[in-house]
């Protein structure tokens, strides 16, 4: 099942955010003006704007998956509407990066700018972790690793219903510490859930340190192959490459798929890259100005 960008484009409403349509941006041969990269840039801008406005952290985690979310929402996911029963499902298992998801939902026009600006405010559906009550969020997450079990059940449901829809889970590498993650991995492989696609944001960092120091994840591809998965090592910041890899997957038969996406924590903002403190810290005015300038674009 391959969905083209054109199939989904009509559902987008960039005007809701007073931003130019990707299609309206002329291609000048510069990678920065490529539609995929522009989508990721928009996500990063929103992540920075909302983090600054709400004065909250988890910025580095959201920036880490900006390109993954751009690949998914910029063309991979087939979602005629968030209420469509046969839409692809997406589980943001690393729920603490919800701001990157909210950015995509806003760019798709499923939430408006007014809603987006309630991020972390009282009475808002847009908390630090995603809630299914918000339009476009399939499952609430926040407790690490539970998302893969949700996604495995969603994939099994699609098979039982004879649907070609796919289920995606975006997970952090730290989630691999949790035993239940491997319970789901075993079930999905045993039942050949080829319609399940997991993207692991391998940024090598977790809350209190680097994964290599906290709980080593050596030989990750071999581990997943040993568990019976179809393993792909990819650049998690190559939007087009991510989309192309996913487009090449056989989601009708075979084994479940995992993309081990090499990423840089805090990607796009030099002083945040690979710095643990940006798991938690909000930005000062000066830091914000620099960050906005580095991701390129208006604030």
């Amino acid at each position: 099942m391959q969905e083209t960008r054109e199939t989904i484009a009509p559902s987008r409403d960039w005007s809701a955010l007073s931003r130019p349509r990707i299609s309206a941006v002329p291609r000048l041969g510069s990678p920065l003006l490529d539609a995929d990269r522009l989508y990721a840039q928009r996500i990063r801008q929103i992540v920075l704007e909302q983090s600054k406005r709400a004065h909250v952290g988890h910025i580095g985690s959201a920036l880490s998956i900006a390109d993954i979310m751009a690949a998914l929402y910029g063309g991979v996911l087939h979602i005629p509407s968030p209420e469509h029963p046969d839409r692809d499902r997406l589980v943001l298992s690393k729920g603490h990066a919800a701001l990157a998801l909210y950015a995509a939902l806003a760019l798709e026009g499923w939430i408006n700018e007014e809603q987006l600006n309630t991020y972390c405010a009282d009475d808002s559906l847009l908390g630090v972790h995603p809630e299914h009550a918000l339009r476009g969020v399939d499952f609430s997450t926040g407790s690490l690793a539970q998302g893969l079990s949700l996604a495995t059940g969603a994939a099994l449901a699609a098979r039982l219903q004879g649907s070609a829809r796919r289920t995606f889970a975006v997970a952090s590498d730290a989630e691999l510490n949790e035993g239940s993650f491997w319970e789901a991995a075993m079930f999905a492989a045993h039942h050949h859930l080829a319609n399940l696609i997991v993207i692991v944001d391998v940024n090598g960092q977790q809350a209190l340190g680097y994964t290599a120091e906290v709980m080593g994840l050596s030989q990750l591809p071999e581990r997943w192959r040993a568990f019976g998965w179809d393993v792909h090592e990819v650049d998690g910041h190559d939007v087009a490459g991510l989309a192309a890899t996913i487009a090449g997957l056989d989601t009708a038969a075979g084994q479940p798929h995992i993309l081990l996406a090499r990423t840089t924590f805090g990607k796009g903002v030099s002083y945040m890259e690979n710095q643990i403190k940006w798991h938690y810290w909000p930005m000062s005015d000066a830091e914000y100005a620099q960050a906005v300038a580095e991701v390129g674009g208006r604030s």
């Binding site: 029963p85 499902r89 299914h132 399939d138 499952f139 609430s140 997450t141 926040g142 407790s143 539970q146 893969l148 079990s149 949700l150 996604a151 495995t152 059940g153 969603a154 994939a155 099994l156 449901a157 699609a158 039982l160 219903q161 289920t167 035993g179 239940s180 319970e183 789901a184 075993m186 079930f187 045993h190």
Partner: protein
């Protein structure tokens, strides 16, 4: 209740294609009616209860009504946070089935004794909690609640033979069922140990003490009105449950008494101490914890004397 569950669910699945059954690798010589009749809707999730509950949430979101089955502790305590963040917070129709409440797996040891499931499950708003007293009531309760829009926990027993006299399979959500009327003492019981409570009432009657016996199978929603009316009539109330005295039926009745400012005195018959490692049959543990019919008679007589 085990055979009643398997048979009832098999029938329901025959009528409704949304019904699925997932097991955490348990149910030998119990779940075969379902797996034989509906092999494509039966999944052994392996010894992996957290994932089983998480998957059931994903299945329910797509429109299925998945039942997940294991022994009480493995169905509730092990995947507890998955239950909370999954079916409860998403308000999806996952059904958690815990087999063998209390000491039904007596000789298997404390790892298999289900003594706090009602307490922890009752904590969750929006989770219907049902603990039938016998297999007839289990059948009615499942038939009446399997299609609720939100999640349900069923605490079931293994016994498919004995019944609580006078119950006759009655069940209603948010109601208690009276199986005996008397003016001296109120006994409120939950789960399969209710049979001992009813037998104790019979022995007390032979000794001239007339008891009212209420069965509470609907723990959430709780039969608050029925309980409030009942406790107001009696100076002494005994609760009987194969469960820790904190969190379960005894706590529920205490809440009702406190909130309705009723003057009854409450004695919670249940398990108040952690295991000392000794093993034995269900009957042995009921005797040890004062939950056998003789133990309940002794407690009732002692408390009535103290109160007189």
């Amino acid at each position: 209740m085990r055979a009643a569950f398997a048979q009832t669910l098999t029938e329901l699945a025959g009528q409704d294609p949304r019904v699925l059954l997932l097991t955490g690798d348990l149910g030998y010589m119990a779940l075969e009616p379902f797996s034989d009749a509906h092999p494509n809707r039966f999944f052994n999730a392996g010894v992996a209860e957290q994932n089983m509950v998480g998957m059931a949430t994903g299945l329910a979101e797509a429109g299925f009504v998945p039942f997940v089955y294991s022994i009480v502790n493995f169905a509730t305590l092990r995947p507890y946070e998955f239950i909370r963040n999954g079916p409860v917070l998403h308000q999806l129709p996952v059904r958690i089935v815990g087999m063998g409440g209390g000491f039904e797996y007596g000789s298997a040891g404390p790892s298999h004794h289900g003594l706090e499931d009602i307490g922890v499950m009752r904590l969750q708003p929006g989770l219907t909690v049902i603990a039938p007293a016998d297999h007839q009531q289990a059948r009615t309760a499942i038939a009446e609640t399997w299609d609720l829009p939100g999640p349900v926990y069923y605490r079931l027993g293994k016994d498919d033979k004995t019944t609580v006299p006078g119950l006759e399979g009655r069940f209603a959500l948010g109601r208690a069922q009276a199986v005996r009327e008397g003016d001296d003492l109120l006994i409120i019981a939950m789960g399969s140990v209710a049979g001992e409570a009813a037998a104790a009432a019979e022995l007390l009657a032979e000794q001239g003490i007339a008891s009212t016996v209420l069965i509470v199978a609907s723990l959430n929603p709780a039969p608050v009105a029925d309980l409030a009316v009942a406790v107001a009539r009696f100076p002494l109330t005994l609760t009987v449950e194969a469960h820790y005295t904190t969190g379960g039926l005894g706590s529920l009745v205490a809440e009702v008494i406190a909130e309705t400012a009723t003057g009854t005195r409450l004695v919670r018959c249940g398990v108040a101490a952690p295991s000392d490692g000794r093993s034995g049959s269900q009957e042995y543990f009921h005797r040890r914890h004062g939950l056998s019919r003789d133990g309940l008679v002794e407690t009732a007589r002692r408390e009535l004397r103290q109160h007189a």
